[in-house]
Assembly symmetry: C2
Homo-oligomer: 105 residues x 2
DNA sequence: AAAGATTTTCACTTAAAGTGAAAAATTAAT
DNA sequence: ATTAATTTTTCACTTTAAGTGAAAATCTTT
């Protein structure tokens, strides 16, 4: 499922697959944790988006991490997270690089 | 303040310095986020403990991270965190190394 | 224009993080 | 050793982030 590189899927299908409410995906979008492609207002989630969201769920559910921590790791260019995070999401946090550099001082 | 390498300080003083309730420090201890030295039941926080706790507060308050995420980063031997984390706290999570190795698979 | 789907808004639930207060136990002082 | 002062522990409460339900608003499509 969701194996086709070039296909994209509507929010309700993705939410069901991940076992969350579609509202949760809208919620993540407010934090720029995911940026699904759009045609008009309608969202289309790519394979990469879905794999990333699966990883986000694992960090949050299995590991007990929170949203902000995931964002902090994106900003810090953390290896483990960056490995799975779609480029456009990483790019959303480009302007935060300065803050990351000063992290902890 | 708290500049002397070999001195140690009672919980109430440390809590006040950090701007938290002393109950918060007991709470952190339940999660093994800090292991103050003890003489009998009384806790004594070292300079290293206090600097670590300051960093923990920064991660949680400034960055919005949660407790579990900090623990995940200790387990993962994250550079930024390990740099500030006292060895005895790191050691508390030694037995979790295997899980870290399998992280994300 | 009507039916069906998607998005948006409002308000609610849940769980983690943190705290207040008082009882119990220790430590320190006389 | 007995009392006074601290510290620890327990219970229950508050606050906030994360997540959700339901309905209204906005498309889409036929």
């Amino acid at each position: 499922m969701f194996n086709e590189e070039d296909k994209s899927y509507p929010i309700e299908l993705v939410a069901e697959f991940l076992g969350v409410n579609s509202r949760t995906l809208y919620y993540y979008e407010k934090f720029m944790l995911v940026c699904p492609m759009r045609r008009g207002r309608k969202r289309y989630y790519s394979k990469a988006d879905i794999e990333w969201l699966e990883f986000v769920r694992e960090m949050m559910y299995e590991q007990g991490m929170n949203l902000r921590s995931i964002i902090v790791l994106i900003r810090r260019r953390d290896d483990v997270v960056l490995n799975k995070c779609p480029q456009d999401v990483v790019d959303c946090y480009k302007n935060y690089l300065v803050r990351v550099r000063n992290f902890g001082e």
